[in-house]
């Protein structure tokens, strides 16, 4: 159940927008759609598998070159369009396997593609657009940095199919020379290492954890509930500053990110010395 | 990770604190600070367990020639006695500039 299935993104994108296809000219791996959320008009974006994609290393739900630049373009479209008007919300539906691991990707600077998408999301946020990330499945490493981690507010489902982490278990086990079982055990003692989304929630980075009985086949009521939560998150984002300080000011962060807070206080105190 | 504490007599004051080294593989960092009293205290944290006797031998040798009243902290990632001694001498050199 905790394996990436690549299904949830499509399901929830359709649930919110009624659409299943990419915008004209976009690769099949990026779904972009505009739809209402209560009295807001939001843009939804999602990365999904495309087994026939142009890049062999980006066909199974990875965020590669095309995905990153398409996200960047579709987000920038909203920024440009709303320049002199109300800033629409932008919702990243996140269920991504990983970044794309390929020679073509490295040659053509996937690091810059990823930065371009993060730039677009972050710039939207700085311009006053409420940017929301809804993690419905996996949110790994570079893929999450690219699509979702610049959001004002992050929401996630609370089941075993949801995972936010820096490296998937098998690779992490290999690199740290431990067994997967040992890693899971370590995650119980050391919250930031845990693969369990409920432990991730203790880090104070999440706005809210949502319960959905069957995230791959949600009921109409459940979809409405999640939409209401998105609306609340949007309102909360609009009421706060455009930076990411809420991630350090949450009650959970004040417990688990004490060292971060100490660093900030210390650095500020020493900034003006002498 | 092992923690080792050692104490040595001291007979003079030290003016300046010093920091040398990096906690890299086979290396260590040394933080040396002036301390009150006639004692030098050494606090070692090392990722390589079971070498308490070796640490004591290295520090005994170092303090046979050094008599500053200091607090020394060492964060070690598997340095050889030679490298430990070198870093200690570097720290002393910086503190006496």
């Amino acid at each position: 159940m905790s394996e990436y299935s690549g299904v949830r993104g499509t399901v929830w994108f359709h649930a919110f927008t009624g659409q299943s296809s990419p915008m004209h000219g976009d690769p099949k791996s990026v779904l972009t759609g505009d739809a209402s959320l209560s009295n807001e008009h939001a843009r939804f974006l999602c990365v999904v598998p495309d087994p026939h994609g142009r890049f062999p290393c980006a066909r199974h739900g990875e965020v590669g070159l095309e995905e990153a630049f398409t996200l960047a373009a579709r987000v920038r479209e909203v920024i440009e369009h709303d320049k002199n008007t109300i800033k629409r919300p932008i919702v990243a539906i996140v269920d991504v396997k990983s970044q794309a691991y390929g020679r073509r990707e490295e040659t053509a600077a996937i690091f810059l593609a990823a930065a371009a998408a993060a730039d677009a999301y972050g710039s939207a946020r700085l311009a006053g657009h409420p940017v929301i990330a809804l993690v419905v499945g996996h949110a790994l490493s570079g893929a999450f940095l690219t699509h979702g981690y610049q959001a004002n507010r992050i929401l996630a489902f609370d089941d075993d199919g949801v995972m936010i982490h820096a490296m998937h278990k098998e690779a992490a086990a290999r690199v740290t020379r431990r067994s997967v079982g040992e890693l899971e055990k370590l995650g119980k003692e050391i919250a930031p290492m845990s693969y369990d989304i409920r432990d991730y929630a203790k880090l104070g980075l999440l706005y809210k954890l949502l319960h959905v009985e069957n995230p791959e086949k949600p009921s109409q009521q459940e979809i409405r509930n999640v939409q209401n939560e998105l609306v609340a998150a949007i309102a909360d984002a609009r009421s706060g500053p455009v930076d990411l300080r809420n991630r350090l000011e949450s009650a959970a962060a004040r417990e688990t990110r004490k060292a971060s807070l100490l660093v900030r206080t210390r650095l500020e105190a020493q900034w003006l010395e002498k | 990770m092992e923690q080792i504490e050692l104490t040595y007599p001291a007979s003079r004051n030290v003016n300046k604190k010093a920091h040398v080294g990096v906690v890299g593989s086979g290396d260590l960092e040394v933080l040396l600070e002036p301390a009150e009293g006639e004692v030098a205290r050494v606090f070692i944290r090392t990722s390589v367990d079971g070498f308490r006797d070796t640490w004591k031998a290295v520090l005994d040798r170092f303090f046979a020639k050094y008599d500053g009243a200091v607090r020394i902290e060492i964060n070690d990632a598997g340095a050889t006695p030679g490298v430990v001694h070198l870093r200690l001498e570097q720290a002393v050199e910086v503190s006496e500039r």
Partner: protein, 291 residues
Amino acid sequence: MSSKGYSPDFFDRQSFIELDARERAKALFDEGTSRELVGPFDRVESPWLPMQGVTPQEDDGCVVMKGKIAGQAAVVVALEGAFQGGSVGEVSGAKMTAALDLACADNEKGIRTSAVILLETGGVRLQEANLGLAVIAEIMASILALRKYAPVICLTAGTVGCFGGMSLAAGLASYVVMTREARLGMNGPEVIEQENGSEEFDSSDRALIWAIHGGEQRYATGLADALVGDDTPQVANAIRLLVSKGIPPVHRSSQVALYRNRIAKLDTSQQWDPKEFRTLWITNDSNEDKR
């Protein structure tokens, strides 16, 4: 005395790569203007490493210094590549974000303050996993905010290079400075080989690694703004020039149409020879894209 055919330049060269993070940071400032903030004696170390039997470092592998570069206020944040591979943990990441945020606040008060980030890093520190990843997102956010006012310059000199999540920070920078020895990329050769086999990337092929990730290739493909020799005065000078230059008219990461078009025009049916790639990927730039 025989000089054995080496030019005097070789002997006079002051290697920048051989310096540790603290020495590298100091070398970039105008003489006598720098001081370190939250240094080792502040003892703000990782809460997570000792729990796992890993010896922490008192500055958590991140050096923050403030001073003047080319007469202007600047902050330099340097990751120590020799400590945990320069990987980003809760504290080292917090030092970087806080420094960038304070520089940004100074700019908002009218004090133009640039930032130079020295990245020798493999990305997220796995022992701190989600806090490492989260703080990299925060570093990226801080770069986006600061670079509106003053340049954020990324310097990668080697030997570790800049990989993983921190490569996105390099991607957001106003300018990227590299040596030939340095490498910059999201995924290193070992990771690619692990995920997609040695056909995709033979991680023992050093020539291939530098042909794709190395400073010379990144510079030749327009992804780095300066290529410098491993010589401290040269490096410092390149940084000074960029601080004085100010922010570019458009940041590289904002030039979406240009790069999207380049990617769209690539023939993905085979791998590309890195040297050929240099001309290949600008072949189809429209006249509009060319600046």
